[in-house]
């Protein structure tokens, strides 16, 4: 038995639930038998991966669904050995090159070279090409992206790259211009609701629209998360109640609590407390941008209107520094300290105003 997410994943381009015209375009692309390198981008949970798999299926038939896991071994210039997981079928290979950290350049180059060159040996395979699927291209270092651009051109005869990224702004223009970019927006709330309703109908459950709406609002446009949430709801309580508790990930609650603590008390001791919370988040593997975004969101929701502007300004600056520097915690902490200062200043000026008024 598999999760609903996997069970109800559409497998063919003709059966998608949303972005139907786009699916049609993709089919047109495949029908011509050849296509340029592709770059799928969109927020997570919008269905990029699903679309790529559908595209491959359209191209090669059901054979692409026979997946196997493998380990790829690479050796870096200073003799460090790297092991990267790959998922492959007879027609494609998929890796997440950003897993290699700073050695991603080697991984990208070696992988494409191997894939492209082994193909050339084959006499019969000339009209065809192989698909290399690279995930999280936006997380690759600039170096690796440059290398990618070079290899992309070199081996275009024998392989096609399908790149997958969350945000296109971190992909260098050189790659963007060499690919046909395909934007995959998140599904709208209505679309999510109708998908959830559909799934429940197929499972023989009745889902109150109200609950579906609440799930859709809580999932940040992430369909996968919405379906998982819905399934969790079902396990925790069935029959559904429209007001029932929707399980949210712990880290999210944790970040919100942290934000409240910042607003509650401003002192060096409290900063220490926040620091340990930040440590905890980081070592749970929560990416920094997520921490930052949610922290900011919650702060903006709960702070006074007059300090909002200042908070945003400070956030934008520290968030940027975080990318310039190397130790995340330095900047997160400086951000929190600055927030506390803003809050303190606000409170004191507020008190002054009250005193003057009275």
């Amino acid at each position: 038995m598999s999760l609903w997410v996997d069970k109800y994943r559409p497998v063919s381009l003709s059966k998608v639930d949303y972005h139907k015209t786009q699916a049609e375009h993709l089919r047109n692309l495949v029908q011509q038998g050849d296509f340029p390198h592709l770059l799928f981008y969109g927020p997570c949970g919008a269905g990029k991966k699903t679309r790529i798999m559908m595209l491959l299926r359209e191209l090669y038939g059901t054979g692409v669904e026979k997946l196997r896991m493998g380990h790829l071994n690479f050796q870096t210039s200073n003799n460090k050995k790297l092991e990267i997981m790959s998922v492959s079928s007879n027609y494609h290979i998929e890796i997440n090159a950003s897993d290699a950290g700073i050695y991603d350049k080697i991984v990208v180059m070696e992988l494409i070279k191997n894939a492209a060159q082994t193909h050339q040996l084959d006499v019969n395979g000339q009209g065809e090409f192989k698909i290399i699927l690279l995930n999280e291209v936006d997380k690759l270092t600039k170096d690796a992206q440059q290398a990618l651009r070079r290899t992309m051109e070199k081996y275009i005869a024998t392989c096609r790259l399908i790149l997958c990224a969350n945000s296109i702004s971190q992909v260098i223009p050189a790659i963007r211009s060499r690919c046909l970019s395909i934007r995959v927006p998140s599904p709208t709330n209505e679309e999510i609701i109708s998908i959830l309703m559909n799934i429940c109908k197929k499972e023989g459950l009745s889902l109150p629209t109200e609950l579906a709406r609440r799930i859709a609002e809580k999932c940040d446009g992430n369909l996968r998360r919405a379906i998982l949430m819905c399934e969790t709801c079902k396990i925790n309580q069935y029959p559904f109640d429209k007001n029932q508790n929707i399980v949210e990930p712990d880290w999210q609650k944790f970040i919100y609590e942290t934000a409240s603590i910042i607003l509650k008390e401003q002192s060096p001791q409290n900063l220490l407390n926040i620091r340990s919370r930040l440590y905890e988040l980081l070592c749970h593997g929560i990416p920094t941008e997520i921490i930052f975004k949610h922290l900011l969101k919650h702060l903006l929701k709960n702070c006074n209107l007059s300090v909002k502007k200042e908070i945003i300004q400070v956030a934008a600056e520290f968030e940027h520094r975080l990318h310039r520097g190397s130790k995340i915690i330095f900047h997160l902490e400086a951000f929190v300290a600055k927030l506390m200062l803003i809050e303190t200043n606000f409170i004191t000026s507020y008190m002054c105003d009250i005193l003057e008024f009275s």
Binding site: H25, L26, N28, Q32, G33, D34, F35, P36, Y41, P43, A46, G63, G70, L72, N73, S88, S89, N90, I93, N114, A115, T118, H119, D122, N124, G125, G127, K130, R149, R150, K154, S167, I168, S169, R176, S177, L180, S181, R183, V184, P185, S186, G221, E289, F292, K293, L296, K297, L305, K308, K309, I312, Q313, A315, A316, E319, H320, L322, H323, R324
Partner: protein, 355 residues
């Protein structure tokens, strides 16, 4: 990797019969897969439009005058590479491929390459007759594309080679920014600036291609495409081809062009400005989130927003300058990898502040 290789072979063996059957189809496919940019490259110097000065010079050279070293610079897609290749084709006829060496930034171009590859190529002397008996100039052409991304050390190494090999070789340096080429090199070359192509010319070219390739289009969509590409014909043609592929046999609509070029529909940008005007913080946050969930690319948002601000009539110059400054800062931060969400919010709040 091993699994990948073996599996590949086995699959091909099993599918051998089917591939044989489809060979004919494959050939057709191969023809089709030539990028239109290559297919519609100008073949003769006369085909080149708008760059009158260089065309005149090249014509002289074709008529028998000596060819100097060239330095072509100008915005991308204005026909620099096409020009020199067309000239070479006319000069050398069928054997032009042997007579030119094209190195672009994608190749490794350290000093070593300049020393070895360029030297060995330039040291081979060539005859002054073509294979078909017609006379042709006894030299070869080395095209260094994207020369501005060469290290200055490599450029310095080049200048000696250039002088030494003048007898047998002509160099053609191509770059976007002439300021990135070291002085000694520019002084050795005939410099030509390529102007961005005019709108009408691009439109004509695109229409011609559409006609040749049987692509249906809406009049307005080509206009938008030309606007979006801003004088870069290569990008326009590539986009056109992508669009045509996506659409199949249907006619190209405006939205398709926007989708492929990554341009954000105007109403979003106008809405962004309107939301800021309303001074409603919550609405701004929702709007930014919506924008990002549509997967629009933040630098592009900034670019289009900048245009909106500059062309806006109801902002004072001081307001404009404040907003532009913020846009500059935000786009710098985005370049460093900062979060799109935070930076866009920062920009919106700044706009509120200024209004």
């Amino acid at each position: 990797m091993q699994a990948f290789i073996t599996s590949n072979k086995s699959s091909l063996n099993s599918g051998e019969s089917s591939t044989k059957q489809t060979t004919k189809k494959d050939e057709k496919k191969n023809k089709k897969s030539i990028p239109w940019v290559e297919k519609y490259r100008p073949h003769t110097v006369d085909d080149i439009v708008e760059q009158n000065e260089i065309v005149a010079t090249l014509k002289q050279c074709l008529a028998g005058a000596d060819l100097p070293h060239f330095l072509f610079y100008g915005p991308p897609g204005s026909g620099k590479t096409s020009t020199i290749i067309a000239a070479a084709r006319q000069l050398f006829g069928d054997m032009y491929k042997d007579r030119i060496l094209e190195l672009n930034a994608s190749d490794d171009r350290g000093i070593q390459v300049i020393r070895d590859k360029v030297k060995t190529f330039s040291q081979v002397t060539v005859s002054s007759t073509r294979s078909d008996g017609k006379p042709c100039p006894p030299y070869k052409i080395i095209i260094l594309d994207e020369a501005d991304s060469m290290t200055s050390a490599a450029q310095a190494a080049l200048r000696r080679t250039m002088e030494k090999e003048t007898k047998s070789t002509r160099f053609c340096l191509i770059c976007n920014y002439v300021s990135c080429i070291i002085q000694p090199l520019t002084s050795r070359c005939a410099k030509y600036r390529f102007k961005p192509l005019s709108k009408e010319m691009m439109l004509n070219r695109l229409k011609l291609i559409c006609k040749e390739e049987n692509v249906l289009y809406e009049e307005k969509s080509l206009d938008v495409l030309v606007d979006a590409c801003g004088g870069d014909l290569r990008r326009a043609i590539t986009c056109l081809q992508s669009c045509a592929r996506l659409k199949g046999n249907k006619s190209l609509a405006l939205e398709d062009i926007l989708e492929v070029t990554g341009i954000i529909p105007d109403h979003y940008i106008i809405m962004m400005f309107e939301v800021c005007r309303e001074r409603n913080f919550e609405k701004i946050e929702n709007f930014v989130e919506k924008l990002l969930s549509e997967a629009y690319c933040a630098p592009q948002v900034l670019e289009q927003f900048l245009e909106l601000i500059i062309s806006s009539n109801d902002l004072t110059d001081i307001q404009k300058s404040h907003i532009c400054e913020k846009i500059a800062v935000c786009s710098w931060r985005l370049q460093d990898g900062a979060s799109e969400y935070v930076q866009l919010l920062d920009l919106c709040y700044c706009v509120i502040n200024v209004l």
